[in-house]
Amino acid sequence: MAEYEAVIGLEIHVQLSTQTKMFCGCKLSFGDTPNTHTCPVCLGHPGTLPVPNHEAIRSAIKIGLALNCDIAPRSMFHRKNYFYPDLPKGYQISQFDPPICGEGELAGVQLERAHMEEDAAKNIHVGESGRVQGASRTVVDYNRGGTPLVEIVTKPDIHSGAQAREWLQLLRATVKQLGVSDVNMEEGSLRCDANISIRRVGQTELGTKTELKNMNSFRFIERGIDAEIARQTALLDVGEKVSQETLHFDPASGSLTSLRSKEEAHDYRYFPEPDLVPVAPSEALIDEIRASLPELPLQKAERYEKELGIATDTAKFLAFNADLGAYFESVLAVAGDGADTKRIGDWVTGELIARIGADANPAESKVTPEALARLIELVKEKAVNNTGAKLVLDKLVESGGDPDAIVESEGLAAMGDSDELAGIIDAALEANPKAADDMRAGNMKAIGAIIGFVMKQTQGRADGGEVTRIVREKLGL
């Protein structure tokens, strides 16, 4: 079987959270009563004209600078023509050439461009399926129509679903840090399409690409891309060709369905938007925006690693996952000076994530930063052992609360160097004479039986390390 390499480019739409729409004064909002935020301009009434939103232009420049893009001294708006009920003017105002942000780079992935455009409205298909097929009628909510978007396009620099996912998480964290978008995938303020092709290793030209549309979670992006790579590989392996088409990934079944073939592709008839003058940001404005950039996730990861002694992977994981990073920082803040930053990092990225899920926002969980900080302190003080602490965390995730109280009520307090523990160890040695002999003979593996006995007797409250120390002492080892 031939060795293949996947070549993936991403197109990411970021909805900007400006006060008003891209080309009119209507308020931006998500989830309000349909068609309550509209005006003659965003409804495309005859005679109306677009007026650019300067806050959106600033946000786009901000994103461009954070992604190390060249900011064009003069960029144009264009009309992208097509008919659809959710497009009031019959064209979308977008940017063709030049876009406001030219080539850039983020974490080794090269960017083609980042340009501004307005979002379409939303068609709602009324009928049993909720899809256009079989709908009895279609109604349109124009509240979203005219929302400012920045479309970020990467070069085909990504080679796996996992890499795409990790990079997107970094991108999302970066944009979130800028404060220009909610980057909420469920609400569609961050949307991602992937262009995927595969080629034999060593080959330079690209294979036929397919487009994977509208994936709304990082996990689905990774799975969808991997499924498509597998599908294309299987096709090539049996000597078939990949055909150019647009696909939809169904996370429930893990299957890919074709939306349309590229042969039906639109001729958008782009041309410069005559209703708008070119965007020409001054050097001073660009410098001012550059100076206002906050610490970005890549810088943050470096700081976590260097200043907080956190392992590289954990530091990246925290810094690239905006919600997790923010939560981590609040736990650090509560824990105060002298906190075990490495241990906090490990708990947040390990035990906590394992319980609430990698895509969840821990700030929305029942585990408050105060509770987690206290729990980690209890472990550090050996007031509760690791096993017990994990049980406490289970409780916290389930119903919140105070770790001290949970340790108390569940009887999880570590036993430490107590007389009770010494007594139980004596009983264990007595009940397992062969294990004691084996240890005396130099086989410390036999201690497993003793620890098992002690843990059973103490319902796990004993500390394994402490038990080992006492056993060695008692046996004179």
Binding site: P40, L43, G44, H45, P46, G47, T48, L49, P50, V51, P52, R79, N81, F83, P85, P88, K89, G90, Y91, T138, V140, D267, R269, Y270, F271, P274, D275, L276, V277
Partner: protein, 487 residues
């Protein structure tokens, strides 16, 4: 007491201010006449109004509005079937500025559908008749506005000019038509034909009225990011000497397509300018020959996009019982647009389509840049450029309707100016015989007006108006048929 209907707007303002006339009475007189007209210049007439104050700069003088301008609460259709029933929720900036200055809204005037045409025969409301000769067209697309003013049905009117739509009907109807510098007046609320060319302006009985209207229509508008307003205040035109002013004729002009009577009137006008002290000269405009071709690519290209919004989804007419989305689009647009509009949508869509974009649209934009450069070079050597406004006198209704190319050739002198975004005015220069064969005296039977087009550099409207005023004062051109007896 003077006959109120024979006053220019500026004279009416003055009469009202000194109590010699009453604004309500004036409005009522015009309203009554507009309601009973026979030349089809109005598509609707507004309600009676009580002007708020005679202290306002325009003192309640009524104004007719081309149907291309949205007026809140009043059906606005750009004379297209597809906009049947459309009542805008807002008023065009140019109109609201006139209203704020005190002008009272008189009614909506007929026009070529979506401003596409040079004869006013493309209206869903039918052709307008030229009051000089009712078997002839008034010109277009602002034909209703021009005819209404020429027939004494309005003291003045707003028009819009994309490739000559103010200047040519003004010339055909013996009036003054001013196309200001592109951007001087806000386009907000003007139903778009070709955004990079569309320009609002006045159609008036004389140059003084044109200046007065420009004064109150112009201004930068935050609703139109391409609007600039004027660089200087618009002044009342003064009868300044033309001594030392250089008036250039583009050379060479191909006179073969120009009626001999039009050429004769133009020659007389040139002599008159010289008699006034002006200096005649020639300037090359080497790319002007390509202007019509470039214009008939760019304007339809922009129009094809601007007219996409008329899809039956949100406003206007929708085809009955559509079987699906595509059927709704196709039938709504198929039934709603007239033939000239469809022709231009097809042309524009083709010019923008992939594979043809570079050959047509891009090339046309390059030509446009060349034309701009030509004018910049020309104005280094002259103050004004002059041509006839149109190559012919008003032609017969139906005469050219089946020959769009010959119709497009009528824009020969106006289109290059539009591509360059320059200000230009058409002033009555004289009369020619009804077949355009010879210049004639005012009392000749069947005489038709010929316009002189004067073009100035960007934002030189005041100088342009002064020159036009001096020329106007020196003509013995008769008052048009707008000199009505009130009986």
């Amino acid at each position: 007491m003077r006959d109120l209907l024979n006053l220019t707007a500026a004279q009416a303002v003055a009469a009202i201010k000194i109590g010699e006339a009453d604004a309500s009475e004036l409005h009522a007189l015009y309203r009554e006449r507009a309601g009973t007209e026979s030349i089809n210049s109005y598509v609707s007439v507004g309600d009676a109004v009580t002007p708020e104050s005679v202290d306002a700069p325009l003192a309640g003088v009524p104004i007719a509005v081309k149907d291309l301008f949205c007026v809140e609460g009043i059906e606005t259709r750009a004379c297209s079937k597809i906009l049947t029933g459309y009542i805008p929720p807002y008023t065009a900036t140019a109109i609201s500025k006139l209203q704020e200055a005190g002008a009272s809204y008189l009614g909506k005037t007929n026009m070529d559908e979506f401003a596409m045409g040079s004869s006013n025969e493309n209206s869903a409301f039918g052709a307008v008749r030229n009051p000089w000769d009712e078997s002839r067209v008034p010109g277009g697309s602002s034909g209703g506005s021009a005819a209404a003013v020429a027939a004494g049905l309005a003291p003045w009117a707003t028009g819009t000019d994309t490739g000559g739509s103010i200047r040519q009907p003004a010339a055909f109807c013996g009036l003054v038509g001013l196309k200001p510098t592109y951007g001087a007046i806000s386009r907000y609320g003007m139903i778009a034909f070709a955004s990079s060319l569309d320009q609002a302006g006045p159609i008036t009985r004389d140059v003084t009225d044109a200046a007065l209207m420009l004064k109150y229509m112009q201004g930068k508008d935050e609703m139109d990011s391409t609007s600039t307003g004027m660089n200087e205040d618009v002044a009342t035109p003064s009868n300044e000497s033309l001594a030392g002013k250089k008036f250039a004729i583009p050379a060479p002009i191909d006179w073969s397509g120009v009626q001999s009577g039009v050429k004769e009137v133009f020659d007389i006008a040139c002599k008159r300018i010289e008699a006034l002290g002006g200096e005649l000269t020639e300037v090359p405009l080497p790319h002007a020959d390509y202007a019509l071709s470039a214009y008939y690519v760019i304007a339809p290209a922009e129009a094809s996009a601007n007219l996409s919004r008329f899809d039956g989804v949100r406003f206007g007419e929708r085809a009955a019982d559509p079987t699906g989305l595509t059927d709704m689009y196709e039938r709504t647009r198929g039934e709603g647009f007239g033939p000239e509009v469809k022709r231009r949508i097809m042309l524009g869509t083709y010019a923008l389509s992939s594979g043809y974009y570079d050959a047509y649209y891009n090339r046309a934009q390059q030509v446009r840049t060349k034309i701009l450069e030509d004018y910049a070079a020309a104005f280094a050597n002259c103050d004004f450029i002059i041509t006839p406004t149109a190559p012919s006198v008003a032609f017969g209704i139906g005469e050219k309707i089946d020959d769009p190319l010959s119709m497009y050739l009528g824009d020969l002198f106006t289109v290059p100016v539009s591509l360059a975004g320059l200000p230009a005015i058409s002033v009555p220069a004289g009369l020619a015989t009804s077949d355009g064969s010879a210049a004639v005296e005012p009392d000749a039977d069947g005489a038709l007006p010929v316009g002189l087009q004067i073009v100035a550099p960007h934002f030189k409207e005041n100088a342009l108006l002064d020159a036009a005023y001096a020329f106007e004062k020196a003509t013995d051109f008769a008052d048009g048929p707008w000199t009505w007896s009130a009986s």
